[in-house]
């Protein structure tokens, strides 16, 4: 059987799958649409809950790929699936004995939630913007000032019928807690408020970090969804919510409003499903064969999944799926 395995997407899941497949004697080829391997993690500064620099995960993976001599095609955007692989934009077909889809997720576009004024008001940001600012080493308001009051809003683009998303993006609560702590470290005198609907701390060390955010970093957690934001005359942001724990409306003015944006299914998923005979789940992510023994299988012969293409996952889970899919593909190929 053909030992070549087509890996669509060179994020952490794709890189880990390629490394594990190579070890098992397969010949993986990674198709990455950007110019560099790394996926979404390239834009991230530090990782929850340990504040590990993203580079400490990315660099060993990239080095491993280079050392193993794994074929990488960058700038290779996959349009759809073919009989035994993928069709690139421009029409080139890359084929092998199996295909692993590791194309990840899309970040929710915060402009859709117009009531929060992202892209309209000066001082409304997203968690992605904040990571970029951390990477640049400078966080400031649009006016160039030091923020004295920062509000984070959880669940933007998740758990919201209004944007057609019933699902919870799972990793954003802990991201919000992590960024709140990082902000407090940068601006010790700033007041920080996290507005949440539920706090979902699913991973090891997450709840503990939440507790430290409360106790040691004095982050204020207010249960209530911000209903709207408006810009004040001096360019700050006034927000309104209900403090549901006391049953009263609440309002305040902040220097920065950070929208904790969720994960959506990848924009290519429909094309993959149409061309490969696969199923897109109701939440927009790809539907694996089942949630247990077939969680990296697609149900179609020779097509597999790893990482956030099938659901929101953290980095560790995506890395594990890279290994898991390699085992499944190897046995499929008889390696």
């Amino acid at each position: 059987m053909d030992k070549r395995v087509v890996i669509i997407g060179g994020g952490v899941a794709g890189m880990q799958a390629a490394l594990a497949l190579k070890e098992r004697g397969a010949e993986p080829v990674i198709l990455e649409k950007e110019e560099r391997l790394g996926g979404k993690l390239r834009d991230w500064h530090r990782l929850f809950p340990t504040f590990t620099p993203a580079a400490e995960v990315l660099e060993p993976l990239r080095e491993g790929i280079a050392r193993a001599g794994i074929e990488v095609r960058t700038g290779a955007e996959v349009e759809c699936l073919s009989e035994g692989g993928a069709v690139l934009r421009g029409g080139e077909c890359i084929e092998g004995g199996a295909t692993v889809i590791c194309s990840g997720f899309d970040v929710f576009d915060a402009r859709i939630k117009e009531e929060y004024g992202y892209g309209i008001y000066d001082n409304v940001f997203t968690t992605v913007d904040v990571e970029r600012m951390f990477n640049e080493g400078r966080v400031a308001t649009a006016q160039g000032g030091v923020p004295q009051r920062i509000a984070f809003l959880h669940c933007v683009g998740s758990r919201d019928e209004k944007v057609g998303a019933h699902h919870c993006s799972k990793v954003c609560c802990i991201t919000g807690v992590k960024q709140a702590i990082e902000m407090k470290e940068m601006f010790p005198s700033a007041e920080i408020y996290n507005f949440y609907m539920d706090i979902r701390m699913f991973g090891p060390g997450y709840e503990e970090l939440y507790r430290r955010a409360q106790l040691e970093y004095n982050i204020n957690f207010v249960r209530g969804r911000i209903s709207e934001a408006s810009q004040t005359i001096d360019g700050r942001v006034q927000i309104k919510a209900e403090d549901t724990l006391v049953g009263r409306p609440l309002k305040m003015t902040v220097d920065m409003l950070v929208l904790i944006v969720g994960m959506k299914g990848g924009s290519r998923n429909v094309a993959f499903a149409g061309s490969g005979g696969l199923t897109v789940a109701d939440n927009g992510f790809m539907q694996p064969q089942d949630s247990f023994l077939g969680n990296v299988s697609s149900g179609r012969k020779g097509i597999f999944y790893a990482g956030t293409v099938t659901a929101p996952k953290n980095i560790g889970e995506s890395l594990n799926e890279g290994v898991a899919v390699a085992a499944r593909v190897a046995s499929y190929l008889g390696l």
């Binding site: 106790l215 004095n218 204020n220 249960r223 006391v246 609440l250």
Partner: protein, 109 residues
């Protein structure tokens, strides 16, 4: 004076731009672990006073932390300092101390 049947309602919103946070900060200095409250309501559920009157201990200490002190001092008089709430708090908060310190920091209100 004829009554026309209308009145002016006081704004109900908690305004964090104008509220005086000093007593709240003093309370949290005295009982720092209160910051870890997850609003589970265990304290309120077990509270004898809360089962017999409209006293809601969780709501009271949350209001104080938002800088809302009106009526809280009087409400706290309903507490009998029995300490049952402390036995159930999953965050290990010394809730009985919270009662006493609220009375102390709000003495001026």
């Amino acid at each position: 004076m004829p009554q026309f049947g209308f009145s002016i309602s006081k704004p109900r919103a908690i305004n964090l731009d104008t509220n005086d946070q000093v007593p709240a900060e003093r309370l949290l200095q005295e009982v720092p672990e209160l910051k870890t409250c997850i609003a589970c309501g265990g304290c309120t559920a077990t509270c004898t006073a809360g089962n017999l009157t409209d006293f809601n201990f969780r709501k009271m200490h949350t209001l104080v932390r938002r800088g809302e002190y009106r009526e809280v001092y009087e409400q706290m008089d309903k507490c009998m300092l029995c300490g049952k709430c402390r036995l159930v708090c999953p965050r290990g908060i010394n809730t009985r101390a919270v009662v006493i310190k609220i009375k102390r920091v709000l003495g001026d209100y």
